[in-house]
């Protein structure tokens, strides 16, 4: 389990952060970047408002949410049967199904499929699963160039950057930074940006349209993920905004979709729930501009589905943590999280940032590095993430559970052992309290040595002159 690769291994440095450093160090660096803080505050503020208003519009939101949660739990419990059913339905409809235990196997399968077509270029629709397995890098090593076509992914790819948000990977960039990236780097990847490009969002979108147009019309192989797969019918579903998804899903001769095994829904009807939950939770719209649904080989296309485990079955085995597999990657939890809003996505060192990342990454990747051990602590446990989650993942509870499993520091363990010894006998507690009361003026505001870690973020509580029990005995319950 510790070998599961999530796109950003601890040894690779990214954006000046290294996986060896924990979340607190990464976050401390990020909050010193005032441009980043400004961009994040603006973007998350906008989306929070939009989400709240379209969710409030539906009188049955909580009913949909409970149904969404139950459908996912139901699917996960019988995942083996539903996976087999899906495989049959996709095969029946002319598609080919492949199974990948881990990132390396998935990359091997996809690389082989692309090579079999004889092509050296592929277009890609934004997909968390392929980012998770580092597919672009694997393709690159095999001499195949993968072109990201989602606007935000394009910004990230052109800027040689890392995604920092599930839905809007370039959320950390503002319009003038995006203009700068387009002007400097578009020519390296194809059609250069117009010379007169301004930082007007409509002009930037137009530049992306022109840059990718020819590529869409001529590329023969596309790679996608999927938001949902329907076991009953073998249908795959992709929600998107720009039309780059439709371009990739429709025009190329060969389509390869890499999808995590947890993306399954049992029946066609279940979409009536998720097509309401997802757009409203993620972009805060009643419906996203485009949703494509296809079953097997469609309109003469060659279709391959790669089912990906890559640590998911480990998460499934965890009775508390398995609820993280309900996640539909809407990113509502990122947008409401006070920690994410300030630290940004890069500090989490994973393609899955924010509250969901703080529980998903250490479960998928294990807690072998300083970074992964620190992720469950990247939260104030305020619970806002749980409240907005469309499939009711109780993120705070999983965080607390994972915290208990993280290896704690020597000072903390010694402190807890000492506290346990004192609390065990009432006589010991009374003596300790009296000693504390006498020495209370000598206790510094910040504790020395390894105990300082505790007071870095807290004040030492004021120690009372005497304990309640002593006061009661001395005054006979206040009568003397």
């Amino acid at each position: 389990m510790t070998s599961t690769f999530l796109g950003m291994p601890g040894t690779v440095s990214m954006m000046g952060y290294s996986g060896k450093e924990g979340f607190p160090d990464n976050a401390a660096k990020a909050v010193r970047n005032s441009q980043l803080r400004f961009n994040l505050r603006k973007a998350t503020g906008t989306i929070r408002e939009r989400r709240a208003s379209v969710v409030a519009e539906l009188p049955d939101w909580q009913g949909l949410r409970q149904a969404g949660k139950a459908i996912k739990d139901h699917t996960l419990r019988d995942l083996d049967a539903y996976l087999v059913q899906l495989e049959e339905a996709v095969t029946e409809a002319g598609g080919h199904v492949h199974w990948a235990r881990d990132a390396a196997e998935a990359n091997r399968i996809v690389t082989g499929l692309v090579k079999a077509t004889g092509e050296t270029q592929v277009v890609k629709v934004k997909s968390m699963a392929t980012q998770e397995i580092g597919l672009n890098e694997a393709l690159h090593d095999a001499g195949i160039t993968a072109y990201e076509t989602d606007l935000a992914e394009l910004i990230v790819q052109l800027g040689d950057d890392w995604p920092s948000h599930i839905l809007v990977p370039a959320i950390h960039r503002n319009r003038s930074e995006i203009r700068e990236i387009f002007v400097r780097h578009m020519a390296e990847w194809g059609r250069p940006a117009p010379e007169t490009l301004t930082d007007d969002p409509a002009a930037l979108a137009e530049a992306a349209r022109l840059h990718l147009r020819e590529r869409f019309l001529s590329t023969k192989v596309a790679i996608s993920g999927a938001n949902f797969m329907i076991a009953e019918t073998g249908t795959l579903v992709v929600l998107e905004s720009e039309g780059n998804g439709r371009m990739c899903l429709t025009l190329p001769e060969t389509l390869i979709s890499v999808v995590g095994i947890e993306k399954l829904l049992p029946t066609w009807r279940d979409l009536e729930v998720f097509l309401q939950l997802l757009p409203r939770s993620s972009t805060g719209e009643r419906m996203n501009p485009y949703t494509s649904m296809w079953t097997g080989a469609t309109e003469g296309q060659e279709f391959h589905l790669v089912l990906l485990d890559n640590g998911r079955t480990d998460v499934l085995a965890d009775k508390v943590g398995r609820q993280a597999l309900r996640c539909i990657r809407c990113s509502a939890c990122l947008n409401v999280c006070p920690v994410y809003e300030r630290a940004g996505g890069h500090a989490y060192g994973s393609v899955y940032p924010g509250p969901i990342g703080a529980i998903l990454t250490p479960q998928l990747r294990g807690m072998g590095t300083e970074l992964d051990r620190s992720l469950p602590f990247a939260s104030s446990l305020c619970g806002a993430c749980y409240e907005v989650c469309p499939v009711a993942i109780d993120i705070p509870t999983v965080l607390v559970e994972l915290r208990a499993r993280a290896r704690h520091g020597v000072a903390e363990r010694a402190g807890m052992a000492a506290a346990g010894w004192v609390f065990k006998r009432s006589g010991r507690l009374a003596r300790a309290q009296r000693m504390g009361g006498r020495m209370r003026r000598l206790v510094p505001k910040r504790l020395p040595g390894p105990l300082g870690g505790w007071t870095d973020t807290r004040d030492v509580p004021a120690i009372p002159k005497e304990s309640f029990r002593d006061w009661w005995t001395r005054t006979d319950g206040g009568n003397r």
């Binding site: 087999v84 409809a93 979409l271 097509l275 485009y290």
Partner: protein
Amino acid sequence: MNARDVILARVRAATEGAPPVEIPRDYRGPAPASQTASPELAELVADRIRHYKADVHVVDEAGVAAVVAEALAGRGAGRFVVPEGFPREWLPPEGFEWVGDEPELTASDLDAVDGIVTTCAVAVAETGTIVLDAGPGQGRRALTLVPDFHLCVVRPEQVVAGVPDAVARLDPARPLTWISGPSATSDIELNRVEGVHGPRTLVVVLVR
């Protein structure tokens, strides 16, 4: 063991002893057939599609051709794709060149036309969505994707209240495209900007 068997065995081991889960469906399901095609729905769907900055026209059946002529003329009198099965009486009698998809148009051909007119399978009032299922009058998925202009005519009986109604009416064996407004992105500072890779202009003609 091959990868398939390993993954299935891992799943079985991981879920062993987990209790069965009932699915509560305490939300608004599909409305009874009698409640569709009401004037309220017609008003709602127009309103919701407009919200996405699409052009919406509400007309009587007899007036469709005139509205189509006006909308297409706004693009310059040019060449428009008309898929097999699109009602001829909805097309203006003259002034435009109609292009069929027989033999199949290439992506470059589609890039060179001025637009496309289609029907749809279903329209969802609550979300302002039209759904195409490659049926008569709609054609292949690429037809409504590559051209920069898409005009869609919706008949009143195709308008349903919400997403559950649409899901119940649609056939998953067909390729489906749900369209809610023109192509857009929220990737720049999370503001919706219309017009990226799909048609930048969407015109919806709702028949009364």
